[in-house]
């Protein structure tokens, strides 16, 4: 069953995470605190990436287009 081996593999990955960050040794409330902090940080980073990365990429793309585009005498329109 692909799902079973996939589930086992994900569980094994979770065990490795626990061992590396030493949450294997923590008491349940410490684990809760640790995971809450980590997940909060992760969510904040992902949200920031979601908001800002498309804008930055399109700005960079515009910049490079302008740089190379001026050689071909194209009209450059600024897209907002």
């Amino acid at each position: 069953m692909d799902f079973k081996s996939m589930k086992n593999y994900i569980y094994w990955l979770y065990c490795q995470f626990e061992l590396i960050t030493c949450s294997y040794l923590m008491e349940p409330w410490e684990k809760l605190l640790f995971y809450t902090f980590n997940i909060t940080m992760l969510v904040m980073v992902l949200y920031t990436a979601y908001i800002f990365v498309p804008v930055h990429i399109s700005t960079a793309f515009q910049f490079f287009l302008h740089l190379f585009g001026s050689q071909h005498e194209n009209t450059v329109s600024i897209v907002k």
Binding site: E18, L19, I20, T21, C22, S23, L25, F34
Partner: protein, 560 residues
């Protein structure tokens, strides 16, 4: 730094080995060479060094993988943060403080308990404490019974469930030749002596505690080691710590290996002599120190040192490495110093007939000035001995603290040693002793080879029955101990402060009592646990240490 006189003996592509380091390679761990010159370079174990080593000396310490080191520090960082949090909560009484504190009335006095020093103890050791001090309830042979215990408050207190876990394969006891038995010739002889002499001696050796059994034991030990005379003491740790002060004092120099045991360090400090440390098993470092000592003498007065004593061990139990005894003896003779060899783990375990590391290298026992060892490991008893010239031992009988003040050895223990030693020497008329020594060597080779093939990082010499398996991360220390116990195998795991902080390990001690089936079962479980915890760090980049081309008259200086 090139060595022109060795260019003929060693081709350019020869990797630097045996503890040499060079600026080009950066910081090297002693005894380890990083980076093979070319994959097709033939590595051969020809003896280059003019016959000092009669057999190849294969010792390897694979380097810690960078990612593993970083993750280990991350783990310790997280635990430290949580340690601070818990300490804060204990300080502000949010959580009950379960370790020792003063009474309320004494809070304004000078503090009794140094809180920060025990930070590691409170916040890390307590979490994994259930892997140590496990109570066993049978003889620690190849299989052992253990009392089951549980903890309901995260290892601060333990309660016994009453159940006994039976037949745990014992990979942790120092039972190298399998003499920890409850039936057999040793046990019968000890029982007979117990009924004859009783258990206690009620005196010291100097007063009324010198039994004929002790005299018999000492003559036997002297014959076993090949020295003129020997003396036995009741405790191995006390043998070191109480006899080194009798041999050296102020105005003497002690050159001690980096990784010497606590008993040697304590004895050296108690003696009041100047102590200088050389890098682990590194003969260049030792020679540099010897040269400096002879040339410069004592620090301010420039007088020559009264005595120079080199302290080494036969097998280092945390690394599994064997001392480079031929080179140490050559250096000792060249610079006219004395050698103190602590064979706690190597007596009975090395050498074709179990006479220790001196026999393993084929050297003359008279070259070692003080041969010390213990009866705890290979003989299944307790105690230590010192062997050497008759004048030395006669001096120690009068001036050693242990001889004058310590209670003498208990007679059944003495009989156990006598019987087991006679068995090893073959004097009891059977070949049991010889068979055990050979079985141990076979077990060692087999176990080490299989573990290396599986991909674990194993430290130490190929022939040493102490096998350290690297774990590195703190959570894996606790996890390994618990998982192996679940699978009915008892192992000893070691962490800081017995080892450097990131190099925690599991230490297996092989025994002649282990059958091949037991070893196979153990290896299967270790394999499983290794996959579960992802312990197979080895990238097979280890370079077996070659016999370095040795020129008897010069050791070139290297920057370390």
């Amino acid at each position: 730094m090139e060595r022109p006189e060795r260019a003929a003996a060693a081709p350019d592509a020869q990797p630097r080995a045996n503890g040499c380091s060079s600026a080009a390679h950066g910081a090297l761990r002693n005894g380890y060479v990083r980076g093979l010159p070319a994959p097709d370079t033939k590595i051969n174990h020809i003896v280059h060094n003019g016959g000092l080593y009669k057999r190849p000396f294969n010792e390897a310490f694979e380097e810690t993988p960078m990612l593993v080191a970083v993750l280990t520090y991350v783990g310790y960082g997280v635990l430290t943060l949580f340690g601070y949090l818990r300490d804060f909560m204990r300080q502000w009484k949010i959580e009950k403080c379960q370790n020792a504190t003063e009474r309320e009335e004494q809070k304004d006095f000078v503090p009794l308990y140094q809180d920060f020093e025990n930070f590691y103890n409170r916040n890390l050791y307590m979490r994994i404490r259930d892997s140590w001090n496990r109570p066993i309830c049978s003889v620690p042979g190849a299989k052992v019974d253990m009392m089951e215990r549980v903890s309901h408050d995260y290892n601060w207190t333990f309660t016994y469930t009453g159940k006994v876990i039976k037949d745990i394969i014992n990979m942790g006891s120092y039972n190298y030749l399998g003499f920890a038995q409850k039936a057999g010739t040793c046990q019968e002889a000890a029982a007979k002596v117990l009924s004859q002499y009783g258990a206690g001696v009620c005196s010291t050796r100097q007063e009324m505690g010198n039994l004929d059994k002790h005299e018999e034991l000492e003559k036997l030990v002297a014959r076993f080691l090949g020295v003129e005379s020997a003396m036995a003491y009741g405790m191995g740790f006390a043998t070191n710590s109480m006899n080194i002060p009798a041999l050296v004092g102020k105005g003497c120099l002690i050159l001690s290996d980096e990784l010497n045991h606590a008993s040697l360090v304590l004895g050296a400090r108690l003696s009041g002599a100047t102590i200088r440390i050389f890098k682990h098993n590194n003969m260049q470092s030792l020679e540099k120190l010897l040269k400096d000592a002879i040339v410069h003498g004592q620090p301010r007065t420039r007088r020559p040192w009264k005595k120079i004593l080199i302290l080494v061990e036969g097998i280092y139990s945390m690394e599994g490495s064997i001392v480079r005894l031929p080179e140490v003896i050559a250096l000792k003779k060249k610079y006219k110093s004395y050698l103190y060899l602590d064979e706690a783990h190597s007596i009975g375990a090395l050498g074709p007939s179990g006479r220790g590391v001196v026999e393993y290298f084929g050297l003359n026992p008279e070259d070692v000035d003080v041969m010390m060892g213990t009866f705890t490991k290979s003989f299944g008893a307790a105690g230590g001995y010192i062997g050497g010239k008759k004048e030395l031992i006669d001096y120690l009988r009068t001036y050693s603290h242990s001889a004058v003040y310590a209670t003498s050895m208990s007679p059944p223990v003495v009989e156990q040693i006598i019987t087991s030693m006679k068995c090893i020497m073959g004097e009891d008329g059977t070949t049991v002793g010889k068979a055990r020594v050979q079985q141990l060597a076979e077990n060692t080779r087999y176990f080490r080879r299989r573990l290396k093939e599986m991909g674990f990082i194993i430290y130490g010499n190929e022939d040493s029955p102490v096998v350290p398996l690297m774990l590195y991360m703190p959570a894996k220390i606790g996890a390994f101990g618990r998982e192996m116990l679940k699978r009915n195998i008892g192992v000893v795991v070691v962490g800081f402060p017995a080892t450097p902080i990131i190099e925690s390990r599991a230490r297996f001690c092989l025994s002649a009592a282990h059958t091949k089936e037991m070893l196979d079962t153990a290896l299967k479980e270790i394999n499983e646990v290794g996959d579960l915890l992802q312990l197979k760090y080895s990238r097979h980049r280890l370079v077996p240490i070659l016999d370095r081309p040795f020129d008897e008259t010069t050791y070139e200086e290297t920057e370390d």
